[in-house]
């Protein structure tokens, strides 16, 4: 297995000690098939035990290990060293407060996720004994793509609107709302509209599309937001024509 040595320039910040973030450089011998996370783990195990970051599955499904890698929001477990230049700059995900080193504060994201009521609202509660709802493969396909979000928050890191810090609900949460709105079993769209179609919701999105570009699961949150805008506009005009209609 051939080794190649990389310079990892890693952002460090310990609120107990540092007044502001700084960079520290590590020289890491990497194997051909390593991902950036392997190199970071090498630093942790062999060079500096104090480095803090999140990771678990190493297979791009748990969503823990997002980092800025040479300026790009990336999953470090799916970014291969063989595609990297000799010098790599690693920073915590942009647009989030730094908790320590590469660990960011997730509170705002978690609140926004919950704010869109991301759970199935059924017309009437069905007993388990009555069996499953029928849902055709075509009905499933309508929303399936939007179920694939792993909550890695790369899209928040890439989003220019979220960067403004003005309360934008953000790509992942809006895509999740869209997922339930499109589900044939769900009738919760109007309940979600308070947040989704609010000033901080879909209308804040300036459709730059950066979220969809960085999404490791190809969820296409930008597409979800545009579709929601159209549906919401139709709602608005329907309301004008037939006030008090059943939503």
């Amino acid at each position: 297995m051939s080794l190649r040595t990389f310079e990892l320039e890693i952002m460090r910040y310990d609120p107990d000690k540092d007044s502001e973030p700084r960079f520290e450089t590590f020289s890491v011998p990497c194997e051909e098939d390593w991902v950036v996370l392997d190199a970071v783990n090498y630093v942790k195990d062999n060079l500096d035990r104090t480095l803090s970051y999140r990771w678990s599955c190493h297979m791009a499904v748990c969503g823990s290990c997002g980092m800025m890698i040479n300026g790009e929001p990336s999953l470090s477990c799916k970014t291969f060293m063989r595609h990297m230049p000799d010098k790599i700059r690693i920073e915590p995900l942009a647009n989030f407060p730094i908790e320590r080193d590469l660990v960011v504060v997730m509170d705002d994201f978690m609140d926004k996720l919950a704010s869109v009521k991301p759970y199935l609202v059924a017309k009437e509660k069905k007993a388990v004994e009555d069996g499953s709802y029928l849902q055709s493969p075509a009905q499933l396909k309508k929303f399936k793509q939007y179920t694939l979000c792993i909550n890695c928050t790369l899209c928040y890191s890439a989003c220019p609107q979220y960067a403004l810090g003005e309360g934008f609900v953000g790509p992942a949460a809006l895509a999740l709302a869209h997922r339930y709105n499109l589900d044939s079993r769900d009738v919760g769209r109007s309940a979600r509209a308070d947040v989704v179609a609010s000033n901080e919701g879909i209308w804040e999105c300036s459709f730059v599309g950066a979220c969809s570009e960085v999404c490791p699961e190809h969820v296409d949150p930008a597409g979800a937001i545009q579709q929601t805008k159209i549906a919401s506009t139709l709602d608005y005009f329907k309301d004008l024509i037939t006030p008090g209609r059943d939503k």
């Binding site: 195990d45 035990r49 969503g63 759970y119 493969p137 769900d186």
Partner: protein
Amino acid sequence: MEMTTTDIVIVGAGGAGLRAAIAIAESNPDLKIALLSKVYPMRSHTVAAEGGAAGVAKDEDSLDNHFNDTVSGGDWLCDQDAVDLFVEQAPKELTQMEHWGCPWSRTSDGKVAVRPFGGMKIERTWYAADKTGFHMLHTLFQTSMQYPSIERYDEYYTTDLLMVDGACRGVAAIEMRTGQMRLFRAKAVIICTGGAGRVFPFTTNGAIKTGDGMAMAYRAGVALKDMEFVQYHPTGLPGTGILITEGSRGEGGILVNNDGYRYLQDYNLGPPDPWPRKKAMELGPRDRLSQAFWHEQKKGRTISTPHGDVVHLDLRHLGEKKINERLPMVRDLAISYVGVDPVKEPIPVRPVVHYTMGGIDTDIDAKTAVPGLFAAGECACVSINGANRLGSNSLTELLVFGSRAGRGAAEVAMAESTHVDESAIEKAAEEARAKVTGLFQNVGGGETISGLRKDMNSTMEEGAGIYRTEESLKDTCVTMKEIHARFANIDLEDKSNVYNTDLLQALELGAMIDVARAMAVSALNRQESRGSHQRLDFVERDDEKFLRHSLASYAGADDPGVDYRDVVITRSQPAERVYGGDQK
């Protein structure tokens, strides 16, 4: 110490923990729930399960079939009363998931689709493409958000169960963001912390699967049951250990050796055709398939790679359309991590540590021997998995026993009118804090976490792997005892309070060492071969002596004591496990 008083504490917010929380919230919305996890819920390792969850779905299937597949798959070490309950509850829990929005794959008439898995007579694995665990976890997590009584404490690392007068009445946990120790006082505690695959070097398990909850319960006096049974999944990617789901074989994938020969036919799993065929060849049980690999390797019929020997999992005949529809993640993982597109080339795979059948000893109600303490999911051992878990039973298990643990804990909490005295529980919490403080005070011992972890990993693989002997296990037991002693000499380099992963990894390593010792000693004492526990010096199953669960009791620096308890046999007498043959 800052104290939070709640009704029920749940440690771990993966599938089992979330299911338990929802069960409590639904059974009594007035009960306060503190859901603690060392990670955000959606990072829990349930997320990585791929292939599906078993529950009888088809008219031609029956609960008896699911029972028989599970019991014979477990080499008769399953408690049959528990399996009966499990198979009966399984379809209900999976339907409940459907009502909560889980995007199960569908047949053309809109019904939930099922696929075959290894050791299964009739297909009954509900699936959501090949990301079933991911979809179940996110569905449970999202569903849990509508219950105000579930209060989450994300990124809290629980260090100890707090015992007052022999009952479990809370936990001590480190708030990772501040490094502060927090006390949670409760009437009941449920442990849902998952397995301990990270004890081994090559595993499908994520970094977080370090057996924390098992170790906690063990140290608090609950036995660890059947710890010698560790499942090797036959198809992991070399190097990373990334899981390639059994669903690949369920959909028709085949395994071939270096001659392109379907070698499983040489191990009582054939004949190879017609294919696909249930309970035969590549759809045999995981223990048999992993053991067959070992023999092929000994015969020099595997393929050598820089990351060890492999065989080939060939999916090419399924065609691109089916692979994209049923196994999209498998395709993506293979392309990304080994540079192989399964549409065009076979995937290199090798056996990889996947699942701990053993765990915290619980009864059929998910209760432990300690009053107030419950456990569910992979950390627990009921046991429905026996000596070898049937593929796709574990996702269902975390639902069935997660919700059972939740309801049981709710009953306990409702029956207890008052909380335990503050001073009594504070005393227990102070002891927990002193242990953590002690770790910081170690200086000059010279041991490192990564060094000890590596030593533990290699002795476990060498001595307690797919095949074991008295000699190999004795060596491992001795080495593990030394590692346990060396742990006292670990120096923490990181003295910070904020998100101190040096400290957390030390605590996780401490847990893994205790769990590994229980595995090795239980394996040494079991002088027979059964399911995933294969002894080269005792090659036969010995029902006379060992149709019994092992129960390892914590003994600090000493090796654990091992007792035994009879398996519950109700209607299926131990017999030979038969796979292959001509039956369709």
